[in-house]
């Protein structure tokens, strides 16, 4: 992916650039909001990572102007904790996702991947990966043709994993998308429901369908 990072904190910008570069992305960094807007309007990027507080033009305005220009680019906002309004404002301004600083790099990487793999339309009704099939209309789930009964939360968890098959989905992403919690309740609810889901998927001694990476998240194999 071609990614533009607008971040005035040199250290954060450097570590994000290096990390994303290691993952094979093409990363350009700027420390100024107006420069970022110019680059976004003239060059073509898959993703903009915008810090909220920027010299020149603040991140929110950059996002708004990019949306006004009708560019098909994903926007990820970086916000500082302590500004409760930030998330809502960021999403209102047209950001696709947001991340509170300081963040774990694995969290950023997972979100960047998720944004890059955004499905072109939400109209798909069937998800399929790793021998697992999910029908979003009939809410039927099968593994290797065998039907599996899931609770609503387990269904939503599996749906998120299947939508991002092959990529890691973090705990925080699952909390946001399945529970609509934009905070970490610091409990084991994700782990508990995930272990239920896993037990149901792996019945009859099938190999583990869900891969867990410590400190990163969960992934369902794509093949």
């Amino acid at each position: 992916m071609r990614i533009l990072i607008a971040e005035d904190d040199v250290e954060t910008a450097g570590f994000v650039r290096d990390g994303l570069g290691d993952l094979g992305h093409d990363v350009i960094v700027t420390g100024d909001g107006s420069d970022a807007l110019n680059a976004a309007l003239t060059d073509s990027f898959d993703l903009l990572i915008l810090d909220r507080m920027l010299p020149g033009l603040d991140g929110l305005s950059v996002a708004r102007r990019v949306r006004e220009a009708d560019l098909s680019v994903s926007v990820l906002m970086l916000t500082a904790l302590g500004q409760i309004e930030d998330r809502v404002e960021g999403l209102d301004a047209g950001a696709d996702d947001y991340l509170v600083k300081p963040f774990a790099f694995s969290e950023l990487a997972a979100r960047v991947n998720a944004l890059g793999r955004r499905p072109p339309s939400q109209t798909i009704t069937k998800l399929r990966a790793g021998g697992i099939e999910m029908d979003l209309l009939t809410r039927a789930v099968r593994r290797d043709g065998k039907s599996i009964q899931l609770q609503p939360r387990e269904f939503q968890l599996l749906e998120e994993l299947l939508r991002h098959a092959g990529e890691f989905v973090t705990r925080m992403m699952l909390l946001e998308r399945v529970w609509d919690f934009h905070f970490d309740p610091q409990t084991k609810i994700v782990e508990t429901h995930m272990s239920r889901l896993r037990a149901k998927l792996n019945e009859c001694g099938l190999p583990d369908a869900i891969e867990t990476e410590r400190g990163v998240g969960y992934r369902i194999r794509a093949e």
């Binding site: 409760i84 774990a104 309740p185 400190g215």
Partner: protein, 448 residues
Amino acid sequence: MAFAVSLAFSLAMLLLGAAVYYASHSALSRQMDTSIQEAQTGLVSEFHTDGLAGLEEAIRQREGSGRDTLGYALFDAKGHRFAGHLNATMPHVGWATISFLDPVEGPDPARALTTRLAGGYRLLVAGDLEPVEQIDVTILSIFAVAFAGVLLIGIVGALAFGGYLRRRLARIEETAGAIVAGDLSRRMVVGPREDEFDRVAASLNLMLDRIASLVANLRQVTTDLAHDLRTPLARLRNQLETLGNQTRPGPARATVEDAVERADEVLKLFEAILRISELEQGSLRSRFAPVDLCKLIRELGETHAPLAEDTGRSLTIEAEGQCIVYGDREFIAQALINLIENAFRHTPEGTPILIGASESFQGPCAFVQDYGPGIAKHDRQRVFERFVRLEAARSSPGHGLGLSLVRAIADAHDAEIMTSGTGGLGVFLRFPPCQCSGQLDRTAKNVA
């Protein structure tokens, strides 16, 4: 207290009155006895020198003088009065209180001394007791009036002073209670009179200012520390993660991954501290919206059911229908999750837990009730303070911020935290009645 003092004072008055009465009465009686004795002695010596005729003459003189207040009577051996105007029957010899017939007032008591003379005659000298009685009556009535006055002043004074004391102390007590309940901004009322109470109130206020500023400093330091340490800690965490990714799977990688998890725990603690301070700054209200407590409880119940099942606890949900509060859904969820987690953490396995929400008389209310061992009454409010972990809970995980976050969230919503000790521990979050009835229709759609 004031009553006891005025009662003691009245008793002292009563004793004093009794003493005065007794002293004056006995002094007067003694004086009368002395004059009777003297008159008797004078008359007896008259009898010895001049005989019966001399005595009669002396009595006549005395009675005629007008100055003499005593009465005289001389009886023959048969008991017939033949000299003196004192109209009385013959008494026995010696001191006695007799009754004589006053020509004006009728029968009257008198103090009398009777002496036997040679030849069977008896001489009676008596003093009218009426003056003494009159003085007694005067003293008694003066005293009664004075006593009634003192008693009245005492009672009124005690009532007024006691009431004043109680009022002042009640105000101090009420303020102290509010401060104990967590409102550190409350201060004692200082009146314009600058009396002792005002001075005490002023110095209490100085003390409270000092305590409040120390507490604020402590909070600020904690918050600043959390804030300033987060970024470097997050960098450290990310470097560790990078290191982990570059290490081949094995013990070294596991150690690095452990270190990353430890760092995450500290970051979470800092996040909780910053969240509390964010709530305390009170900018939350601007994003309040109607929230259905019943629906939230049902969601949380569903979310926590597997957790309960895994630990052998039973989780019952009582949240029928709809129960709207005006607030922030995520923060309320956070508070309820912390309460549920707390119930899970501090009760033995197999403990039944009940969560619910309902529209109570004073407003919508959500509750988490466990049927575990409970906690002592005096600890129940204390657990909602920052970093407070009861001795019994030291061995279980947690950083002691979960319940103080609940408190900060409740405060930000003007909700009241109530605890009960029936069963195990019950915590109730009572929200102010929702002023959003006009929005209900829209709300029902939003939260449905």
